[in-house]
């Protein structure tokens, strides 16, 4: 076998020296290193050998193969001007990019719109007490109005302000700011909130809200409408409209729920544009509920030692997940917290 190898090497070196073009070199490669080469044939004899012999010749043949390949590589490198062209049809390599999470970027986008209108951005704490989460907001203990705010309670020693809990809305920030600062005030406050809801496609025990409010001597309902319309047009699109429906919240009076004209069917619901088909996003109503708002209840101002005869305010609150789901057509709230790359990557910054 050693004889064979010696001959093989000689032949190869001779052929290699004579080869001129890239094509000839390629042929050479196939001849000496290809599947039907003499070397390959020698490899195929190895399994038939006995133990010791087998490993010896295995190593030996591999070494020769390596040498030949190295010599061939060296030769091809020196054939100048004969460089192979790139197969540009191969797929691209992965390019890593970072991104913001769709919830934080949506929240930030919303906050910045209000900031431009003159609101300050203030974040509150998530650990709150009953006083700030309920009482100061005119939600008395054991009143049916508390039923809308199921709450996680924390195992922390109770102090003057009642039991500790995880805030069930961002409204306590309103109280905190009003207790600490004198009007005029205009504040927007985003953050996480918690309610013991069993997780499904539309519920989560943790979600995000944005609370906004303004307090001054001349604040009125008409300005509340203006500020929110301005926000909706900036955030969704210039052609959306808002609909204010009277509602009840303990902490505002008058109160309203606000719908935005459906961004998919343009508020048509089931008529004309969609050719009679019911719009699946707004369920044919033409409107999508996006937030709650109202004039701050004088009791709430009074709870913060603000003179309710002199000052008035408006306040509003919205759910970030809901707004992001509407805007981007996301149909399952769980996607936000699963952090699947295939989801995150769809919203690169």
């Amino acid at each position: 076998m050693e004889q064979e190898l010696k001959k093989l090497k000689e032949d190869f070196e001779r052929d290699l020296a004579e080869a001129k073009s890239g094509t000839e070199l390629e042929t050479l490669k196939v001849k000496y290193l290809g599947r039907n080469s003499r070397l390959a044939e020698l490899f195929s004899q190895i399994p038939a050998l006995s133990g010791d012999q087998r490993s010896f010749w295995g190593r030996r043949l591999n070494q020769v193969k390596k040498d030949l390949a190295a010599a061939w590589e060296k030769a091809t490198g020196s054939t100048d001007g004969q460089q192979e062209s790139l197969d540009v049809t191969f797929p691209s390599s992965a390019v890593n990019s970072g991104s913001r999470h769709i919830i934080s970027s949506t929240s930030q986008k919303i906050c910045l719109i209000f900031q431009k209108l003159g609101f300050d951005i203030v974040e509150g704490n998530e650990i709150e007490d009953e006083q700030h989460n309920f009482e100061a907001l005119n939600i008395p203990l054991e009143h049916p109005s508390r039923d809308a705010f199921d709450t996680f309670y924390l195992n922390l020693a109770e102090k003057n302000n009642g039991k500790y809990l995880l805030r069930s809305h961002t409204s306590p920030s309103q109280i905190r700011v009003m207790q600490k600062n004198k009007p005029p005030l205009a504040v927007i406050s985003p953050g996480r909130v918690y309610r013991p809801d069993v997780v499904d496609a539309t519920h989560s025990f943790m979600f995000h809200q944005i609370e906004g409010f303004a307090v001054d001597t001349e604040i009125n309902f008409s300005q509340l409408k203006g500020v929110l319309l301005c926000f909706a047009r900036e955030f969704f699109s210039q052609d959306v409209n808002l609909r204010f429906r009277p509602h009840f919240f303990p902490f505002t009076e008058p109160s309203a729920e606000v719908d935005v004209s459906c961004i998919i069917c343009k508020g048509q619901g089931s008529k004309t544009k969609t050719q009679g088909k019911r719009c699946s996003v707004c369920k044919g109503k033409g409107w999508l509920e996006i937030l709650g708002c109202g004039m701050i209840h004088p009791k709430v101002l009074e709870a913060c030692a603000i003179d309710s005869k002199k000052y008035r305010g408006f306040a509003f609150g919205m759910g970030v997940e809901r707004i992001a789901m509407l805007k981007y057509g996301i149909d399952d709230i769980r996607l936000f917290y699963e952090n699947d790359l295939r989801f995150l990557e769809q919203f690169s910054l």
């Binding site: 913001r100 930030q108 203030v122 039923d147 009125n220 409408k225 008058p254 109160s255």
Partner: protein, 666 residues
């Protein structure tokens, strides 16, 4: 709540097509969730907000519809006719806090049967089941007036009637057939021997009206909203009756409801009213007075409501009023409305009937005091955090949001590292607040590693919650996570340095430390203050979460970082070239690179940077040794360094390094 349009017609003619009525109701605050035809009737399903107990009655809804249609509806007040007193049975109220007033009527000689078709269909269309003539009539009257009534089979009563708290472990079987063990939280109606009803919630099986009933005891009462709420929560039951009592029922229609029920029973089921018994005092509602000025209304809403319109609206809502000075009115709200107390309540009533859509949108100029302290510039943590998050995205990290709640022993049962406990968790997996962002990172990375992803880098900005001897606290934190192989540690370390550099933190150091859950760890410090840590997740934790790659994790305290974060200042760039020299080093494991670095920094003149340009492995490198080439950059700010000068500096460095035990120059 469901209401039937035919039922409304008993008070008010409504000619509006149902779609239009639904829209008008919704736009006035009575949200119609749906409506459907049922025979000759239309059934509306409405949302009743907690402030509108009056909408839990057809009378109240009719009043609302009248207001929307601009009609005047005067529902007549009940008249107390002379009625025989019931002497054979007394009612004793234990505490008037729980029950202020109790009215009982004895009707004898009734025949139980199916009853009137009309009442049956109205009751059914309002979402209640039809039972028999007497029960249907009590439900009909409850629906109509909002006051729940209850009919007992009088022959099953023994002795007087007591309104009292249940004793601990008293037993009760409701007409729903369910057995309940009661306690002091439960208010009950009892006779001398037994409990006959869970007051205001549900009647008892033992005194239920059935086909053989001949004589009836009809109850109408005012129970305390809070007592009923606690009692029904305790008993784990929610009924049409408790729903109304919890939201307060009006005493105004109580007598009327009871009288009308009596009259209907006589008409439909036969029988004779034998007597009336009363206990307690019918609560007197003192008529409220609210002063309103049209000017005040206009400045609150930002729209002028014409005076005539204003008067029509308040009249149709049932207010009585007196005109005072010009544009000033004294209003007397309808007695059955408890929610109209101050000016703003009237503003809402007027504006919602007038129409929110008639209020024009306006952009305010938001004044702020110039010395406003709402957001202290230097501590604008929101801005700092969101800009930092943008920066991390630019660095190639993907932001995640993970749950703030985790299982209390998810990371092990080390008691010093248990988060703040949640008293009423939904599940064991979410029974505490996290003290670190680690589990969220592990789960998010794990989720993706299980889906054939690899080499991930994530970040999260969120709060962590600590509880120690000083009390509890909540801090904003940043988590960085990379999944992958050994050398990812240094990429993560580089990312941490980038963050510190971004925050213009000039002075910081890494200190080797054994950290829980990490096999190789560093604490990040600045001027003695701990800013955070980074490390490689230990194998125990990797296995605990079945991670398919190693995890490198860093966490920084953003409050601290924001506090020490400096302003950016331009540093002059040297116009003279930097020159580098390499040193190859073999370092025994017991010597850390830090020692090498310290010696070089102390001894090298004009040193501006040092980098590792390669690690070496192979036969020539002894075990327990790391071999690498260090590239040292020399640069002067005031001249070009010559090769000879650099060689001198470099030799100095080599000299110094060769003194280190366990270091070999190669």
């Amino acid at each position: 709540m469901k209401f039937s349009l035919n039922f409304i017609q008993e008070f008010l003619k409504v000619n509006l097509p149902p779609e239009q009525l639904a829209k008008k109701l919704t736009m006035a605050g009575m949200e119609v969730e749906g409506f459907e035809k049922s025979g000759s009737d239309w059934i509306f399903n409405i949302e009743v907000t907690t402030n509108r107990h009056d909408w839990l009655s057809i009378a109240g809804i009719a009043q609302e519809i009248a207001a929307i249609l601009g009609k005047n509806l005067r529902i007549k007040s009940p008249q107390d006719k002379k009625q025989p007193l019931l002497l054979e049975r007394k009612v004793i109220i234990e505490s008037n806090q729980d029950c202020s007033y109790y009215l009982g009527r004895s009707i004898k000689g009734v025949n139980i049967g199916p009853g009137s078709q009309k009442i049956q269909s109205l009751v059914v269309n309002c979402g209640l089941a039809s039972i028999n003539n007497v029960v249907d009539i009590t439900n009909y009257c409850m629906l109509k007036w909002g006051n729940p009534l209850h009919a007992f089979d009088q022959d099953k009563l023994e002795g007087n009637i007591y309104v009292r708290r249940a004793k601990k472990n008293e037993f009760f079987i409701g007409i729903d057939g369910k057995e309940r063990v009661l306690d002091k939280e439960n208010l009950v109606i009892a006779d001398s021997k037994k409990i006959i009803a869970l007051a205001g919630v549900i009647g008892s099986k033992n005194t239920e009206v059935d086909d053989s009933t001949k004589n009836i005891f009809l109850e109408a009462a005012i129970f305390s909203p809070l007592t009923v709420r606690r009692s029904r929560r305790r008993a784990g039951v929610d009924t049409e009756s408790s729903y109304r009592f919890e939201r307060r029922v009006s005493p105004e229609y109580l007598e009327f409801a009871s009288q009308e029920a009596t009259r209907l029973i006589k008409e439909i089921a036969g029988g004779v009213l034998k007597g009336v018994t009363k206990a307690g005092q019918k609560p007197k509602i003192s008529p409220k007075k609210i002063n309103i000025s049209l000017n005040g209304l206009e400045t609150y809403l930002g729209v002028k409501v014409p005076e005539e319109k204003f008067k029509t609206i308040i009249a149709s809502l049932g207010f009585k009023f007196q005109a005072k000075a010009k544009g000033q009115y004294l209003l007397f709200p309808p007695l059955q409305r408890f929610d109209l107390i101050r000016e703003v309540d009237v503003y809402e009533e007027v504006s919602r009937i007038y129409g929110y859509e008639k209020i024009p949108p306006q952009i305010p100029f938001l004044r702020k005091a110039m010395d406003s302290r709402v957001v202290d510039r230097g501590k604008d943590i929101y801005r700092f955090n969101s800009e930092l998050a943008d920066y991390l995205a630019r660095l190639g990290f993907k932001e995640i949001i993970s749950y703030s709640l985790q299982g209390r022993e998810e990371l092990g049962s080390n008691s010093t590292l248990l988060g703040i406990e949640i008293i009423n968790p939904l599940r064991k997996q979410e029974n505490s607040l996290r003290f670190s962002l680690l589990t969220g990172m592990i789960k998010s990375l794990g989720h993706n590693l299980n889906r054939s992803q690899s080499g991930l880098q994530f970040f999260e900005v969120a709060h962590i919650y600590l509880n120690d001897r000083k009390g509890f606290s909540e801090l904003p934190a940043l988590a960085l996570g990379r999944s992958g192989k050994e050398d990812e540690f240094f990429l993560l370390k580089g990312a941490v340095e980038k963050v510190l550099q971004y925050a213009s933190v000039q002075i910081f150091e890494f200190r080797e430390e054994k950290l829980p859950f990490f096999s190789d760890g560093l604490t990040i410090l600045s001027k003695g203050k701990v800013l955070g840590f980074l490390g490689k997740l230990d194998q125990e934790t990797v296995k605990r979460f079945s991670l398919k790659e190693d995890l490198f994790f860093a966490q920084l305290n953003l409050e601290e970082l924001a506090k020490i974060s400096g302003e950016k200042r331009y540093k002059p760039i040297s116009p003279y070239p930097a020159v580098w020299r390499d040193i190859s080093i073999a370092l025994k494991k017991q010597v850390s690179f830090k020692e090498v670095e310290e010696v070089i920094k102390a001894r090298c003149k004009h040193l501006v940077d040092l980098r590792i340009v390669g690690f070496y492995q192979g036969k020539n490198i002894p075990a327990q040794t790391t071999a690498f080439t260090l590239r040292i950059f020399y640069q002067s700010t005031d001249k070009t360094l010559t090769a000879q000068e650099v060689d001198i500096f470099h030799n100095d460095a080599r000299q110094a390094l060769s003194q280190i035990k366990g270091l070999e120059l190669r």
